[in-house]
């Protein structure tokens, strides 16, 4: 057994009472993460602290860098040198990382970026949770690209989705955004550990000699540093060989369309929804992250009162599960979208559904209460 498996096996089947941030870090260990580069920021620092403490025990390396620019850069470098690499930050640090998130997308670098969302803009309410980075995760870096983003609503799911994030990063050779928030990151719940032998480390297909590492198929195999293949990795437009070719329209089109299509065409496989009470539902609440908790409370209260309310939670946010949501919401009269921002998911949802989409924004650093969602929900149910 490896050092990592040997150490983690002691947790097999145990339950610990931990924070979401800790669960995310522990999930990364189970996923085989062996490099963490980071910079402290509230409310993500606990991810770094757990990694600093635990990663060396599993044989990995923790490095605290001078800033977020260096952190994400080192993560990408470590990934190309064979690492399962990640960083963790919050809104302001995530903004600083955006250029290299684009580099990771363009160079098809598997890595995981945790964004524990806090209240912005700017320094905003640094210690308060928010959900205002949904569009930053999608469009924060410049240019045409697709991104994968997952959003947990509990401690257990913080652990589970982190393992899934690493798996998807390898499967699609892409950066994956683990989009949690300061509430889920900081509250404590039981975490049930799986058997470490049941959590395989995601494989990383490698290029054979002469096989293109940057084209030729939707997700090409990687040629890592040290593979003796003279790999050429660049964020400039490049041919399948990896060599720059920045003046050719066909080369740019072929590259960027492939990078977009490899994720966009997998939208169905990447759709992760938590669907409840949608049978005969007339009004649905669509939510994610911490906001989904009071949203479920409101929907269940409405159902208890005999009202046809439905619940959909976005576990995978990007690529947006629009087609599936379109089917699920085909017969409802109205959708409510509570978010801890002035509204981002509601805009995306509007592009896919025909019924009215009512945004229930809340800012200021406090999550919605059940009543704050139940009130408008009952009003819409009565108004039918």
């Amino acid at each position: 057994m490896s050092q990592r498996a040997d150490y983690l096996a002691r947790n097999d089947g145990k339950t610990h009472f931990v924070m979401g941030d800790e669960a995310a870090a522990l999930g990364a260990l189970y996923a085989g993460c062996d490099f963490f580069g980071g910079y402290p920021i509230t409310p993500a620092s606990e991810v770094a602290e757990v990694m600093a403490r635990e990663l060396p025990k599993t044989g990995g390396y923790y490095v605290q860098f001078e800033d977020e620019l260096a952190s994400i850069s080192a993560v990408v470098g470590a990934a190309w040198a064979g690492g399962r690499a990640m960083t963790a930050t919050s809104g302001p640090g995530f903004s600083l990382m955006q250029e290299t998130v684009g580099y990771a997308a363009m160079t098809e670098t598997p890595c995981v970026i945790v964004d524990v969302q806090r209240s912005g803009p700017s320094t905003g309410q640094a210690t308060k949770p928010a959900q205002g980075d949904v569009m930053q995760a999608r469009w924060g870096t410049h240019g045409d690209h697709e991104i994968i983003a997952l959003s947990p609503w509990s401690v257990q799911e913080s652990f589970d989705l982190m393992i899934e994030s690493f798996r998807l990063a390898e499967a699609y050779r892409t950066p994956v955004i683990f989009l949690t928030d300061g509430a889920v990151g900081h509250f404590r719940e039981p975490l049930v550990f799986p058997r470490v032998s049941d959590v395989p480390i995601a494989p990383r297909p490698r290029a054979a000699k002469g096989e293109p590492a940057f084209g030729g198929r939707p997700v090409p195999p990687m040629a890592q540093i040290g593979d003796r293949l003279d790999v050429h990795i660049t964020g400039s437009t490049h041919k399948a060989s990896g060599i720059r070719d920045v003046n050719s329209k066909p080369v740019h089109e072929e590259l960027v369309l492939r990078l977009v299509d490899k994720i966009a065409s997998a939208r169905e496989q990447l759709t992760r929804l938590d669907v409840r009470h949608m049978d005969q539902a007339r009004v649905a609440v669509v939510s994610f992250g911490v906001t989904a908790r009071p949203a479920l409370g409101a929907v269940e209260a409405a159902r208890r009162a005999g009202r046809p309310a439905g619940f959909i939670r976005l576990v995978g946010i990007w690529p947006f599960p629009g087609p599936r949501l379109q089917q699920l919401l085909a017969d409802v009269d109205c959708v409510l979208v509570p978010e801890m921002s002035l509204g981002q998911v509601n805009r995306e949802l509007e592009r896919f559904v025909r019924c009215p989409v009512l945004s229930l924004p809340k800012i200021g650093g406090v999550a919605h209460t059940v009543d704050e969602i139940l009130g408008p929900l009952m009003a819409r149910l009565e108004a039918r």
Binding site: F35, K57, D67, A74, G77, V231, H232, T234, G235
Partner: protein
């Protein structure tokens, strides 16, 4: 150089096939740096397959990328040293070399430079200093001398330039040198010393930009630059006996700092992981 001469050049095997001639302007120092680098690698009998070239953005980043035939990570502007640190931590037995320009390394990437020097991470960094932002068309750089007129200092530069080699030495780099593209034999020797040094090694290579900087300072050719380098350079051993006034406008060349045996970052990090993982296996407590 004719095609047959190019083919017969023994250093040709270090260059990625099918890419010559380089894109460098006539007289650019980039070719000289590439030549010296290939020579240093050749004389040390290093296997390029055990080397990683990491570069940033700008003319000088094109010296290794794509021309030097080795694993190459051509990164975002200013971040080469940070990427290289990630690479270095996750590889062992590979030589990680950063070649990039003064704007990349000391301007936008200055913070990574001083922190990598402070950590004494085992990287070999060659900063090609042409005193200007060349690729973008000749804007003022943190290395442009006072009063020089560039496209963004049309009325003269009001900022003093960085002494980057001294900065790296002060920050904790353990091999620090400065040479110019006039001093090719010294430069090869220095590159060999840097490549075999364990720890953060740094050479500032003063190099001509015959397009943009030539225009800024009224030089006409590469030969003008080389004559000027020859004229103005003074060896560190002589410079130590000179007053600041006497050193005004001079280029101090040579090894400014050389410390062997200083603790290296990756070794310390590996030592930590070895110690902590051994302790973890000897206790019963699992991850909490």
């Amino acid at each position: 150089m004719s095609a047959s001469e190019t083919k017969s050049n023994p250093l040709r095997r270090y260059v990625r096939p099918g890419l010559l001639p380089t894109i460098f302007c006539a007289g650019c120092g980039g070719g000289t740096v590439l030549n010296c680098f290939c020579r240093a690698v050749d004389e040390l009998e290093l296997d390029p397959r055990s080397m990683v070239m990491v570069t940033g953005i700008g003319c000088s980043s094109w010296i290794p990328s794509p021309y030097f035939l080795a694993d190459t990570l051509h990164t975002t502007h200013g971040r080469a040293i940070a990427f290289a640190t990630g690479v270095r931590v996750m590889t062992s037995g590979m030589k990680v070399v950063v070649i990039a320009g003064d704007g990349d390394i000391s301007g936008i990437g200055g913070n990574h430079l001083i922190h990598a020097a402070r950590r004494n991470v085992d990287l070999t960094v060659f900063m090609v200093n042409n005193s200007i932002y060349g690729m973008t068309g000749g804007q003022v750089a943190p290395t442009t001398p006072l009063d020089v007129t560039t496209t963004t200092t049309p009325h003269g530069n009001v900022e003093p330039p960085f002494d980057v080699a001294s900065l790296v030495a002060a920050a904790g780099g353990t091999y620090v040198a400065r040479w110019t593209t006039y001093h090719v034999f010294d430069l090869v020797k220095s590159m060999k010393a840097a490549l075999t040094h364990e720890g953060f090694s740094f050479i500032e290579i003063v190099s001509p930009c015959t397009t943009s900087y030539a225009k800024a300072v009224g030089k006409r050719s590469a030969a003008d630059f080389l004559a000027d380098y020859k004229e103005r350079s003074v060896r560190i051993s002589s410079a130590q006996k000179m007053s600041p006034e006497e050193l005004e406008g001079r280029i101090v060349v040579g090894a400014l700092k050389r410390v062997e045996g200083a603790p290296e970052f990756c070794q310390r990090l590996r030592g930590l992981t070895r110690r902590v993982s051994a302790e973890a296996l000897s206790t019963r407590e699992g991850a909490r």
